[in-house]
Symmetry: C2
Subunit: 406 residues, 2 copies
């Protein structure tokens, strides 16, 4: 059993880096607060006897030797970046529980057969730079390192510049650190476990993701003197798109969601009909056929709205991540650990994307979920109980021990 | 007849101050470009023999003496500030045509019985600071000078600070410069004159204006893992409000319009359901009863939407300007001048607000409209012909001469 109080303290210790007044965390990837938590993480891993190295996209790897160094380590970990108004647990739990697993093994003097390696993946959130899970996507070869290094945030800063500005552009080429398999612990970020009173989610699949960049071009004109029928209003157009997306997702539901999270009117003014709006859209399903249907229905709805309102709407698919089906043997291993430890559990689909979803495309991978309060995440009020976090860390440890061999 | 080429050159000379790549003008009130055009205007008025003074809200008054200085002057003019993506004519035509009237009288050696006074009103547009027509509203006593001085722009800069930063906080208390009556020339900013092939709009009334500040408070949560039925999406709420406002305005139309020109998601992120949005709304009608109905219908629709979506919507009325009915005798004088000069004309309602609408509450006031291309205004593509601008300036001059006496 891991040290529950130490894990809990560690979570709250890192929550200082980017703490918000409402009790959340704002620690955008590769910003100054991310540097603070990375420095802390490196020091803590080194203090636990781990050897830390950083790859050229800033992902941090902390290695604990095993008896048999001929095989790649078992990977475990998550991410330490957060949303603009994020919580204390999303990503953090999985990374710090991995550290707690190592600390517990150290305290108990347990040596494993295979090495194990904790990872802090760069930019899991995807809020400052797109796509989300950027570094693990490059790790599995979905993008080249150079492509990712040149991605820009809203202020025009590239990933490469951001890495240099905090001193986290490492030496190791992306993909150098191999793994035998990977296990990630995370809060569920949805309401199912809590509603059903289950402690552990044995994640067997993950939703696919469609990310779009959209732009509406209508016509700016005077709010007082332009008759309603002559308007080409970009905001009214966006409004129809938002509601169409919502009803399309509901129609295809429950296995579909759609969100417009960003929408910016160019040069807004109270008495000017909006002429130009940039927006982003996020649609998901765990069923590839539903994802294709969402894309088709959305494009048809948008065409109809644009034509009727005499505006132009551009919609570019900037990221397409197919649904994930985790490795059956590893999923069984997680389930076995939960059962052995006596925790209530159920199989579950991840609504959110995770680095584990990327890693699963090239190695056996699985995930462990624990409940979070009201299913709320990407919110400063995100919360989870010490007991559930402890249970998740124990399942993580036992799964890793089963894989690594004692 | 005024000097058509000189008027046209003057318009294009001032269009340099804040010129945009698309041929428009961005000259936000009390910003650096506004200072440039103000300095130019002061110099040009002084060169025309006028005595310039500035009031404590920055409005500029340029006086031409009359034979009988015992009566307040005839006022004429408009404004030189523009929208963020404004055109070359909105406000500018009325101010520079007033200057052209004086230059023409000077050239012809015409002395008037009563003095005349050109005005450049501060912040007519209302885009940087609310409300629109701010200085003329204070002039007629709708707001105190101190209230207006403390209004803030989106960056938190007050009117007072902005005035000081460009050196245009004048000496004269607001309201010191009296007028016998006031005439303002403006482009129509709507499509009617052009559609009917009329050169002059004899403006007999103006729409009333309702300006609202709104705020939607939903709940931020994860775009991937939050089921559609559990969302409290601020952007979906805004979307319903936009479309409800549009259909309410259409239902009460043609004598009603409604616009949401500004909407800002707090801390936006691609994969976060928007939790908070601030927006502004602008509703107008020339019928006070319709204005009241718009307000009632909107509030009812918003209550229903907010309750159904389990979000909070605050809606504050920040400006209420009743409909304007211009002075019958002055309207006749404008019509008489148009007829005498042989221009086609019609009575018209102003869709936009104007400083003249404020002045009309305390003195006989009227307005002259000329057509603009496709009825487009508050857009960089705003355009008007030299012939129409010239016609408008001639009607302005003849109206002023009839009022001032030769
Ligand atoms: N787990 C998590 O919140 N990931 C962020 C990427 C996404 O799913 O939007
Ligand atoms: N004339 C004009 O565009 N005024 C701005 C104020 C308004 O009507 O919105």
């Amino acid at each position: 059993q891991i040290d529950s109080a130490r894990l809990w303290d560690t979570i709250h210790e890192t929550a200082k880096f980017g703490a918000t007044p409402k009790g959340g965390v704002r620690r955008l990837t590769l910003g100054p607060e991310d540097k603070q938590v990375r420095d802390w993480f490196r020091k803590s891993c080194e203090a636990a006897g781990l050897e830390v190295h950083v790859d050229t996209l800033g992902s941090m790897f902390a290695l604990r030797k095993g008896r048999d160094m001929s095989k790649p380590p078992i990977g475990l970990g998550s991410h330490l970046d957060t949303q603009p108004t994020g919580g204390k647990f999303d990503g953090v739990l999985g990374t710090l529980a991995a550290l707690e697993v190592v600390r517990t093994l150290n305290d108990a003097g347990i040596e494993t057969e295979m090495p194990i390696c904790i990872v802090n993946w760069t930019n899991e959130e995807g809020s400052r730079f797109a796509p989300a899970m950027m570094a693990s996507a490059a790790y599995v070869g979905d993008f080249t390192t150079d492509d990712i290094l040149s991605r820009r945030d809203a202020e025009g800063v590239t990933v490469g510049e951001a890495l240099d500005s905090i001193g986290y552009r490492g030496e190791k080429p992306v993909g150098t650190q191999k793994f035998s398999n990977f296990v990630e612990l995370h809060i569920e970020q949805g309401p199912i476990l809590e509603a059903e009173g289950k402690t552990i989610g044995v994640v067997d699949s993950g939703q696919g993701v469609l990310w779009y960049d959209g732009k509406i071009t209508g016509f700016e004109s005077h709010a007082g003197s332009t008759p309603m029928p002559l308007r080409r209003d970009a905001l009214a157009t966006l409004s129809e798109i938002v509601l169409a997306m919502e009803s399309i997702a509901k129609k295809r539901g429950p296995n579909a969601v759609g969100t417009i999270g960003e929408a910016v009117i160019a040069k807004p003014s109270r008495n000017v009909i909006p002429g130009e709006i940039a927006f982003t859209m996020d649609c998901r399903s765990s069923d590839a056929a539903i994802m294709a249907a969402l894309d088709k229905d959305l494009r048809a709805a948008i065409s109809e709205i644009a034509a009727r309102r005499k505006v132009e709407v551009a919609l570019d698919l900037v990221w397409h991540k197919p649904p994930t089906h985790f490795d059956a043997k590893l999923v069984d291993a997680v389930e076995h650990a939960a059962k052995a430890l006596g925790y209530s559990h159920r199989r579950i689909t991840s609504g959110a994307g995770h680095d584990a979803c990327n890693l699963n495309t090239i190695m056996p991978t699985a995930m462990v979920f624990v409940p979070c309060k009201d299913g709320v995440s990407h919110n400063e009020l995100e919360d989870a109980t010490q007991a559930d976090c402890t249970a998740g860390a124990n399942v993580l440890m036992h799964t890793v021990l089963a894989l690594a061999g004692v």
